[in-house]
């Protein structure tokens, strides 16, 4: 009688099963690893802005303090974005007619705000408060990275809950003294653990309850 199945049928079947199993494993692997990639956390992605404001020039080059523009960072949950008038404090006299600053001049003339595109985002159910972090020893560059080197801003850290908890579970690794909060060049010294513990006492930080759900979610 003629054979229904060719001699290689078994091989094909086994290969197909192995291939299917491999695909399932690959699929699961992608699903598992994907949220931790920069693609999902939006890290390291330059966001196009309506005005190509360069932090590298203004902060790194000219030495502007963060708070000149982000003025509510010590008082409010929201760090603050400068109103157009803040840009104009200098640019009414410097580079007044530069092509790059046309959107700023238009904003001033029409009375419409500049539509900045958000770079560092956390979901709406996270209530993050800048002021309480800044007042308790967390510096700008700890979470935002080396902004003074960024020609255009990208999100330097994952900003995932896991990443927030890394600090909330052990703040000592990340704290700095008051005079270094806005220092972009600060790096943790060799004895950071020791200094960190002292800073926790200095800032009177209550560390036991920093991981309560109601700290950040309400």
């Amino acid at each position: 009688m003629a054979q229904h199945f060719s001699p290689s049928a078994d091989t094909i079947l086994r290969a197909a099963l192995a291939g299917a199993a491999l695909m399932v494993v690959a699929f699961l692997a992608v699903l598992l690893i994907r949220p931790y990639t920069a693609y999902s956390t939006s890290q390291n992605r330059i966001v196009e802005q309506p005005v190509q404001f360069s932090h590298a020039h203004h902060v790194g080059g000219l030495g502007l303090d963060c708070r000149y523009c982000h003025d509510s960072v010590e008082n409010s949950a929201f760090a603050g974005l400068p109103p157009t008038h803040t840009c104009m404090t200098c640019h009414s006299q410097l580079w007044t007619n530069a092509e790059m600053l046309a959107p700023v001049r238009r904003s001033l003339g029409e009375g419409k705000p500049i539509p900045w595109q958000r770079v560092n985002q956390v979901p709406d159910y996270v209530y993050f408060d800048h002021s309480v972090h800044v007042k308790n020893g967390v510096g700008c560059s700890t979470c935002h990275g080396p902004v003074h080197t960024m020609q255009q801003v990208w999100q330097d850290k994952p900003l995932t809950m896991q990443w927030c908890l890394d600090c909330h579970r052990d703040p000592a690794q990340f704290l700095r003294p008051e005079d270094k909060i806005f220092d972009m060049n600060w790096t943790p010294p060799a004895d950071q653990e020791e200094r960190g513990r002292k800073l926790i006492q200095h800032y009177l930080i209550e560390t036991k309850n920093l991981t309560d759900c109601s700290r950040c979610h309400r």
Partner: protein, 935 residues
């Protein structure tokens, strides 16, 4: 060093991946800063401004919380005498009416949109012509006004048009009270009772603790004389209530007698005779006679601190009788000079409309086409007239639809104004937001009529006060008054006690069934019918929502063969109205009560076609009491939506809300000092937590006014579900006021118990959540994490207090009731509180956003949270200060001290939940002469 991907992270990773597989990443978001940031404004930080809101023309001071120029919450102004830091439910709900999508947005001429210029072009020539005869054909109708600015502008208008007629109409008016004062004292004085100086109070169908412009003041005063504490055991005043209907005041009374209007009048006369009046002695039936003996004795023994009150609906002769009684008792009452100006009434206006004696009618913020008495047929007169009719109002409503011109008016929160409280204290109302629509103010219209073409209300108010304050310090005074919310030393000085004339006999009410009309406890006279918070707010005692009903005694209903929900035809004075019947124990026999404010046709999407319109039966000679009522069953039924049935707790009323005399409690406290806490599978809480939040609610002080219920709804973005879902028991109130009835059915004594989340230390809702969305934080709060909740609702099932609420639909998120999904409504949300989506459980959080804000502020300033720094929304709102919230770790905090009072107990404490919200039981001060043995 934790492993690269723990098991939990893997699970989360899979979940996140699966969910975001279809999308390309997080949605882009824009940040729009200011172009020129206003001085003193920090984005993300709220600012508070003082202003005032009118009710019946009288002011209540408020402090408004705004975020970047958008008000989201109103609280009381501690400096204002009519507020004293608290609010009532109408004030709390005003924030939603500001953002009502049904507010009038454009000027209309006979229903079609038109322009302000064309209106001015039509009006101004008419006014110029009217000057020729002194404005004889010009008539103005307003509500009751206390605003010095508007009164001044009307006075100025009178100078231009000396023959102009000014009419004032309020559905809940003071005319009877003024007439009564005139009968008693010769002039229509303002009479202000001072409850805080009384020891014995008798109300004769009066409801000082119930809704009205004085509610907050009276509740605060009442709380001051009814606070039962260990160190003040003899300090309780005694309250007697004699009334035909069941009011909040009657519910709090130590002794209550239900009498129909005829019996009430006899009672009042008999009391006056007892105090020496020269009137014929009426015969009183036995229970009333015994009651009268006890009351008269008590009142006379407390001379100087004895007070009798008559309601604003009592006939003038009855009011005069009560003034005479108070005079004899030297009652703690202040007499203030009467307001100047004698405006005319609505009947004269209706007559002029019909008779053609007018050519121009201007109506400012009044709605007589809906709320005028039926026998005037004001709507018909308005429809048929050829006069040039103008209506200015924030809502178009029934009157705006019938007037030739409808002009949209600013909402009180958008406008400059000034107001007076009942004691004369003046305050300046400032706008909290730029007007949302192209609206104008009443001052503008009055200025226009006077001949000033673009009078801003800001300029008008400043002009008024520039005439009163010294010029050199005007700016400083202006800023101070705006900051404080009151004009200092502007309260009227009480007159020396005038002698009351000998009283005349009040007219005897007709015998037979009588229909009583009363203002509604949640929509007042109907002006708030389109406010969904107020429609969904349960009425005290009946707990009815989204409608009204004809209330009557159970025996009365049975006599007519009626049960709850049967629709009945109310025939009175040749008119008929259909309403569902709701038997209420404690109502007097021979009486039915229907509240005003329902049955509107043009209130808006929320308020239309709800309930029965009591104004259809109201007559000028029978505004509050309609004798000769005939009840005819209509042969059909209507569901009456009542809330408490749906969240019944397991237990007897005596167990859930105990009620005792204070002397009993001192000997036998409700909770003897604990020896061993009951065994529990839960770990005890951290002994060294920095703060331990707790709440104590004093049910003796609670009068069921509902201010806390609406305050919580405003603060926490609690959605409205609409009558359909309420019928399924899905109401979303985080805080509810349960009513428990003690005593036999003939002599019911209701008690009010506000129930927020108990924040149990051993919370039954926590172990049953499969995803740990219900967790405990170190400060003692039971926290609901919305982003974890998957909607199993096991927590709601396991909660013995039934305080959890589930979003069965997207009530705030895509499936809003009626027009609540309009974009403008979203402006009322508090940005500090999450707006919950569908399928998520929510509940009272002890205002965790306020706790968090106080903690963050304290951390920034390196100090602990101060006592009293965190006040929950319900605590702030309560006029009686019945809710105390604070840190149990501090021995001197109110919550800690109150736990040692003998009437302190935990609701369902025997279950071992160890709730952080505990109660002080209801304490009464009964008169031994009237005490009945417990049935």
């Amino acid at each position: 060093m934790t492993p690269l991907l723990g098991r939990r992270q893997a699970a989360l990773g899979l979940l996140a991946s699966a969910l975001t597989l279809t999308s390309c990443g997080e949605p882009e978001e824009e940040i729009l800063p200011y172009v020129n940031k206003p001085d003193g404004l920090t984005p993300g930080v709220s600012q508070r401004f003082a202003t005032s809101l009118p009710m019946g023309g009288y002011a209540r001071g408020v402090l408004a919380t705004t975020y970047e120029g958008r008000p989201v919450k109103l609280e009381g102004n501690p400096r204002h005498p009519a507020s004293q830091g608290a609010t009532d439910l109408f004030t709390e709900a005003a924030i939603l009416s500001l953002y009502d999508p049904d507010r009038s947005r454009s000027l209309r001429r006979e229903g079609r949109v038109d322009t302000w210029e064309r209106f001015e072009a039509a009006l101004l020539p008419r006014l110029a012509a009217a000057e020729a005869n002194g404005g004889e054909g010009l008539r103005l109708l307003t509500g009751h006004l206390t605003s010095p600015t508007l009164l001044r502008l009307i006075g100025a208008l009178r100078e231009r048009f000396p023959a102009m007629h000014w009419h004032v109409y309020e559905p809940v008016a003071e005319t009877a009270a003024r007439r009564g004062a005139e009968l008693a004292f010769g002039t229509p004085l303002t009479v202000l009772p001072r409850l805080q100086r009384a020891r014995v109070i008798l109300t004769l169908d009066a409801d000082p603790l119930g809704p009205g412009p004085e509610q907050i003041r009276h509740n605060r005063a009442f709380a001051a004389i009814r606070t039962a504490r260990r160190d003040n055991p003899g300090g309780l005043a005694r309250l007697y209530a004699v009334e035909p209907v069941f009011s909040n005041t009657g519910a709090k009374a130590d002794h209550r007698l239900a009498l129909a209007p005829a019996g009430l009048r006899d009672f009042a006369v008999a009391l006056a005779v007892r105090l020496g009046a020269d009137l014929p002695v009426p015969a009183l039936p036995e229970p009333a006679a015994r009651f009268l003996d006890a009351v008269a004795q008590d009142l006379q023994a407390a001379r100087g601190a004895a007070l009798v009150l008559a309601g604003p609906w009592a006939p003038p002769e009855m009011q005069a009788l009560v003034h005479w009684i108070n005079d004899r008792l030297e009652a703690p009452v202040d007499h203030l000079p009467p307001p100047s100006g004698q405006p005319e009434d609505l009947a004269a206006l209706a007559g002029a409309l019909r008779g053609g004696a007018m050519d121009t009618l201007v109506i400012i913020d009044a709605n007589p086409a809906y709320d005028a008495p039926a026998d005037l047929d004001f709507a018909g007169a308005l429809r048929d007239t050829d006069a040039f009719t103008v209506h200015l109002g924030p809502w178009r409503g029934e009157t705006g639809a019938l007037c030739r011109w409808h002009l949209p008016q600013h909402h009180p929160l958008e406008d400059w104004a000034d107001l007076r409280a009942s004691d004369g204290t003046a305050s300046i109302a400032q706008p909290l937001i730029r007007p949302l629509y192209a609206t104008r103010s009443a001052a503008w219209l009055l200025g226009l009529m006077r001949g000033r073409l673009s009078l801003e209300s800001y300029a008008a108010v400043r002009e008024t006060w520039a005439a009163q304050w010294p010029a050199e310090s005007f700016e400083a005074t202006w800023r101070r008054v705006l900051h404080d919310g009151v004009v200092p030393d502007s309260a009227a000085t009480p007159l020396p006690r005038p002698a009351a004339r000998a009283p005349a006999l009040p007219p005897a009410p007709e015998a037979g069934l009588t229909l009583l009309l009363r203002p509604d406890p949640t929509v007042w006279d109907g002006r708030h019918a389109n406010n969904p918070w107020l429609q969904e707010c349960p009425k005290p005692l009946t707990r009815q929502v989204w409608g009204n009903a004809a209330l009557m005694a159970p025996a009365e209903a049975e006599r007519h063969g009626l049960r709850e929900g049967d629709v009945v035809q109310l025939h009175a004075g040749g008119r008929m109205l259909e309403a569902p019947v709701l038997p209420l124990p404690g109502m007097a026999p021979g009486v039915a009560m229907l509240s005003l404010g329902y049955g509107r046709r043009q209130a808006g999407a929320i308020g239309n076609d709800l309930g029965a319109n009591a104004y259809a039966l109201r007559r000028q000679d029978a505004l509050w009491e309609l004798p000769g009522l005939r009840l005819v069953p209509a042969g059909r039924r209507e569901e009456i939506l009542r809330l408490q049935e749906m969240h019944r707790l397991e237990g007897e009323a005596q167990e859930l809300l105990p009620e005792r005399a204070f002397t009993d409690l001192l000997e036998h406290p409700l909770e003897p000092e604990p020896e061993e806490p009951p065994a529990s599978i839960f770990k005890p809480l951290e002994p060294d937590a920095p703060v331990a939040w707790g709440m104590v609610i004093d049910t003796t002080l609670c009068t069921g006014c509902n201010a806390c219920v609406v305050a919580c709804q405003a603060e926490n973005n609690v959605p409205v579900v609409g009558p359909g879902d309420v019928a399924k028991g899905r109401d979303m109130h985080w805080l509810r006021i349960d009513t428990y009835w003690h005593g036999p059915e003939a002599q019911p004594r209701p008690g009010f118990q506000p129930v927020p989340c108990m924040h149990c230390e051993a919370a039954p809702c926590e172990p049953v959540c499969p995803v740990a969305a219900s967790v405990h934080d170190a400060e003692g709060l039971n926290v609901q994490v919305y982003n974890r909740c998957i909607g199993t609702r096991f927590c709601q099932g396991n909660c013995p207090y039934k305080v959890r609420r589930f979003n069965f639909h997207g009530y705030a998120d895509g499936q809003e009731y009626a027009n609540q999904g309009e974009p403008i409504v979203a402006a009322h949300y508090n940005p500090d509180v999450t707006v919950r989506g569908r399928g998520v459980m929510e509940k009272c959080t002890y205002c965790v956003q306020r706790i968090s804000a106080a903690r963050r502020q304290a951390e920034k300033e390196d100090r602990p949270i101060a006592e009293g720094e965190v006040r929950t929304a319900c605590q702030s709102a309560c006029p009686a200060q019945a809710i105390q919230f604070g840190d149990l770790r501090k021995a001197e905090a109110a919550v800690s001290r109150l736990r040692h009072e003998p009437q302190h107990y935990a609701l369902l404490g025997h279950l071992g939940t160890r709730p952080r919200t505990t109660y002080l039981a209801q304490v009464r001060n009964p008169n031994p002469a009237l005490e009945e043995p417990e049935a």
